[in-house]
Amino acid sequence: MLAFTLRRLLQAIGVMLAVGVIAFAMFRFAGDPVNQMVSIDTSAAQRAEIRHSLGLDDPVLVQFGRYFINALQFKFGVSYQFRLPVSSLLAERLPATLELAICATLLAMVAGILMGVYSALRRDTILARLFQAISLIGISLPTFLIGILLIYLFAVTLGWLPSFGRGEVVKLGWWSTGLLTVSGWKAIIMPAITLGLFQMTLIMRLVRAEMLEVLRTDYIRFARARGLTTRAIHFGHALKNTLVPVITVAGLQFGSVIAFSIITETVFQWPGMGLLFVQAVQNVDIPIMAAYLLMVSLIFVTINLVVDILYTVVDPRLRSTVSRAT
């Protein structure tokens, strides 16, 4: 088990190194940042000075080494547009994005699993069919459209919820949270639904399909022949077996939730990393883009690792094959 974890950890480090190379390569190939920072009438000497002060005139390998060592210390350089360290810019935006992503994922999992289980157990009811229809809409409608529709309905027409921003936030150390104020909760509802809807429908369809599959297995029939209660069979035996693949998908989806939050954050002007990234793209602010790339991939790699380990916790069969393989 330990060897398995270590091996996965090494693989994760390999992936991060590769992403680091790509992130660094952006500095080389995405145009000259100095031109972005200065006005047209800056003299060549001044340009060279800026270039030198940013270390852009050193050999490539030296620059990469420096970038790499700094990245390990979470120093991603200075934003070209804000003239502030990228790491503090990201740290400032991180809580907003994470809160949104976690709320969206929780919403997606809870609602998705409930709806999936219901529509598997009561396959022929009207409600189950309605869930199926809703899930089709959730899968096919693009995120930004759902966001705009929600804003039109609940913010513009009904005026119940704010159409942008995070509401009031409370500082807990360096972490700023919107989940302790009423306006914060109001503000997060629509973005969370928008961001989580796709995942919710995905999880719902997956749970439904898996559950139907599991309910047909011999051990469920045997559980019924043993006279266990319907509740124990459905929510003990069937659901646990259903959740094995769901954990993987939901876990991996958490990464895409963070990555996809770019769109949702733009629609709702949510002050998170995604919005920062979009602004950075518009201004060719490469340090931010590179750091964002590194961070998202770090999140993905971490989630993958956690999912792999969780998998063995849920499924004892994997536990023994894993320890046998080492």
Partner: protein
């Protein structure tokens, strides 16, 4: 005569499909006494397993019991409300399925599965149920049960898993065990052990056993009585020695003739020509008539009813007293 543990009368099971209603079981009647082992044999699709599932109430839609009565120690158990039949399952009737590799939930320790079943049917505490589970595992012949109780199903071999399944089936001391091909998926060497175990448990606890199999060797070795099923009906039923040595029904004769012996007589095994009719195309009259060497006109129009012949009962027009001379 004492009351039989299981009494099935004129059981009919239908499967309603879009095209037609298929009758999988058509007028099956039999009794199993306390401590008795009844073997049910027949080709695949003869309705052996469906009969077992009907008794325990596990026929899933679109199938349904369309007629007949099933009594367990005098109380009717067909068409009970779901919650009441659930209390019968596992508690009064234990069931063993064919494939031990897939009968156990892979994500739960076997001990937890046994304890869960015990606690569903009795008021034992968690620790008492655990002690009982260890006793049960010891009884079905699992070595070091206090250690193995915390194992997961995949850590057991096929034969050991079937022992666990049997432990699960008997954990509430049921009156009846239905074993649906309990040895088919196992190695030959393990088969004998499992059969001996089922036989011993039936004897020790006075449990009635309904043993569904297509293995005549298992039947001859284990059962007190045997029912030969064909196309959803019982062709012949009687004490196992009589039916094996002196089968009356032409189909039973064919079945016994198809058993290879080691006695060395150099005769060819008898084959029954043709195959069993599909449920959608059961011929009128006796369902066996197209394959029967002795079939006469009446067999093609009139369905034979069971006729007593000594200790045996046979559904064949050949044994109709009035027709005996004609045949």
């Amino acid at each position: 005569m004492t009351q039989p543990v299981l009494s099935v009368r004129n059981l009919e099971v239908e499967f309603v499909t879009r095209r037609a209603t298929l009758r999988a079981i058509n007028g099956v009647s039999f009794d199993i006494a306390k401590g008795e082992v009844l073997g049910v044999v027949g080709e695949s699709g003869a309705g052996k397993s469906v009969t077992g599932l009907a008794v325990i109430g596990l026929i899933d839609p679109p199938g349904r019991i369309s007629a007949g009565e099933i009594e367990l120690s005098g109380t009717r158990i067909d068409h009970l409300p779901l919650e009441e039949i659930r209390r019968v399952r596992g508690k009064r009737i234990g069931m063993i399925f064919q494939d031990p590799l897939t009968s156990l939930n892979p994500l739960y320790r076997i001990g937890d599965q046994i304890i869960e079943t015990i606690r569903t049917h009795t008021s034992l505490s968690e620790s008492a149920a655990r002690r009982r589970a260890i006793d049960l595992l010891a009884e079905v012949g699992i070595p070091a049960p206090e250690k193995r109780i915390d194992g997961y199903p995949h850590e057991f071999s096929g034969g050991m898993r079937q022992r666990v399944v049997i432990a699960l089936a008997i954990c509430a001391e049921p009156e009846l065990i239905i074993a649906d091909e309990p040895t088919t998926a196992l190695d030959v060497s393990v088969q004998a052990q499992i059969i001996a175990l089922i036989k011993r448990l039936g004897r020790d606890h006075g449990t009635a056993v309904m043993l569904v199999t297509h293995d005549m060797g298992v039947i001859a070795e284990t059962c007190d009585r045997v029912a030969v099923m064909y196309s959803g009906r019982i062709a012949e039923i009687g004490p196992v020695q009589e039916v094996v040595r002196n089968p009356l029904h032409p189909y039973a004769k064919g079945l016994m003739g198809a058993i290879p012996t080691l006695a060395g007589e150099d005769k060819r095994l008898v084959q029954i020509p043709g195959s069993m009719p599909r449920l959608s195309a059961i011929p009128p009259g006796c369902p066996f008539n197209p394959r029967c060497a002795f079939a006469f006109d009446r067999c093609r129009v009139e369905r034979p009813e069971p006729i007593r012949q000594g200790t045996q009962s046979v559904a064949c027009h050949l044994f109709e007293p009035a027709k005996e001379t004609a045949a």
